[in-house]
Symmetry: none
Subunit: 200 residues, 4 copies
């Protein structure tokens, strides 16, 4: 039923290809930034030609949009899991911080789109992006509020605390270097420690 018809088969094939392209795009963008990543390069990475991309995506913006969606979806998935698998709110928040840092550093550019979507997207696509971005942020809100409610956290302004938290994390990608002094793990721990001092 689910995968029976021929149509679905070819649809599956297309979806596969789309994902491949998105991954390639994400890679190139992480190297060069979105504006400088050209359709040509993205295609070349997959040994395709420029024109072929337009079979799968309406235009460049659409492609970037879907890159963003994919990455954000994944990240949200991880947040959700963390949320349901940890016990204390502190533990959850620590895990979430770790997840965010991981994405901010490793998926730098595609994650970056969260930061300044209005420079990247036209009005049409801006809305769903912002929605997803809010969904992502809301997981942080949840823990913080839960923490406040059960007395684990003492801050008053949950929204602003979340802003502070995410802001400080986003910034990491501006300076973090893979071969630098600190490992990703150290980073995750230190930031967790510091940011929990804010919350408590």
């Amino acid at each position: 039923m689910q995968g029976g018809s021929i149509l679905t088969l070819s649809e599956n094939k297309i979806r596969k290809k789309k994902e491949e392209i998105i991954l390639s795009a994400v890679k190139i963008m992480n190297e060069k930034g979105y504006q400088r990543a050209t359709m040509e390069e993205i295609a070349a990475e997959l040994q395709m030609t420029k024109g072929s991309l337009y079979y799968y995506f309406k235009n460049k913006e659409d492609l970037i949009f879907q890159c963003h969606e994919l990455v954000l979806e994944q990240a949200i998935g991880e947040l959700r899991e963390v949320f349901h698998n940890c016990i204390s709110n502190e533990a959850i928040l620590r895990q979430m911080i770790a997840v965010h840092i991981k994405y901010a550093v490793l998926e730098k550019e595609s994650f970056n789109m969260i930061i300044k979507p209005d420079e990247t997207f036209s009005t049409d696509q801006l809305h769903p992006i912002l929605k997803k971005r809010n969904e992502y942020a809301s997981w942080f809100d949840r823990v913080i509020i839960a923490g406040i409610d059960c007395g684990e956290f003492s801050i008053k302004e949950s929204k602003m605390a979340r802003m502070l938290l995410l802001g400080s994390l986003n910034w990491i990608q501006q300076w973090y270097k893979k071969d630098g002094e600190n490992s990703l793990l150290e980073l995750q721990n230190i930031y967790s420690d510091y940011l929990l001092k804010v919350m408590k």
Copy 2:
């Protein structure tokens, strides 16, 4: 004396014009991002033509570079003053946070440029930019280290604390709205409170 003043007059005129252009550039760039801001638009904003800009700036990169310099220089000036006029390190840091927020919010456009210089500048100009950026940051480092030394602050990783601090502040411009719930003053106070919890 005579020659001097005449010279200064025309030099002043050119400097004025340069500043005008820089302000225009900064405005456009913040609306559209650096890459998408065109020389034409920047000129049009001032009712000039594209070509005229090249009378004042060698090329686009040079213009962006000087935008950077101007704003950063001003901000550094304010930090310096704060540093020398306050008593406790906590007081200094609070003031510095206030200054940074003010720039990030009110001079949003200009200050923004600090964020991603490496995508904007060629290697030649990247270096002096990073230097100035470091100079700016170093004022924060100084207070933090001084605070640690005299026991006011307890954090271990001064550099990372500074990163966290500046990152969280930079992010403010992503969401802050003049007519929003919080006044600038409230913002400055809350962020100071929260970030000092990190330091102590």
Copy 3:
């Protein structure tokens, strides 16, 4: 075999187009000079648009470069043939002069480019151009030296004699008119006579 021919087909097609463009470029350039020939005009001549040229050539310099190469290659081919098919060095030199005059007059535009490569090319491409130009000239050197060795010619400075010879021939295109008093054949004969007086 199948793959080979298909490949060759499309390769051939692209080579054809490239040649078309080169011919167009060569025509425009000889009307206006290299600097004043614009990519737009070159394209317009073929009812293409500027941008399309960049599908075939990296940039203007590359296009000019290949113009050079193509014509020079052909001419070298003819010299080589002459060299191997004639008996006396005098006969060879006469034939070579005829070839050179033919190119200078009939393929005026293309051949012209040999004249001032150093104002046209950047250092990178200058070298291979000069090399090919030298290769062309070296065929003349060979006959002259051979002629000297076997006593047919009596001049001392073979290099300078070659310069004089080629210089005088190149100049022909400055004044020669198809419908003028002298036929091409007369021209070839008279110049041969005169220049051989130099050699003997």
Copy 4:
């Protein structure tokens, strides 16, 4: 009478300035070629500003035109002198060759305009240029014809011989290097020897 009035005085001043500019222009052009020589550079050489040039010359073409005139006038002057001061036609021709080589090498670019005036000048100015160029060439014609008439030279086609001669000389500037193997004097002698073999 000649230089009495104030008007003439200032006219003289203007003429002086014009010559200065022309010399500067000639210098820059000899370094960069005419197309690449900018009004700015020419002015800078004289510590003037671009705009001032337009007080003295209608436009760039006019300036180039007058450069050309000046140099050609000088060269013609030298030819005239040679013509009247030498005894045998051979001696005259040798001297003329020396003069031409000197200009072709030392005043490379300004002399060069003789070579391809149609690329440099619009129809308006082309005519007087060609006229002067013919005047220049006619001095060579005269000696050659005189030489034929008195039996010194044996060639039949005086025009073509002159073309051959000037062509070979013009070409020198394509390859001659100041610090090369041959001094200017050697060059003048060798070319004279070779070209007189043609005439005789």
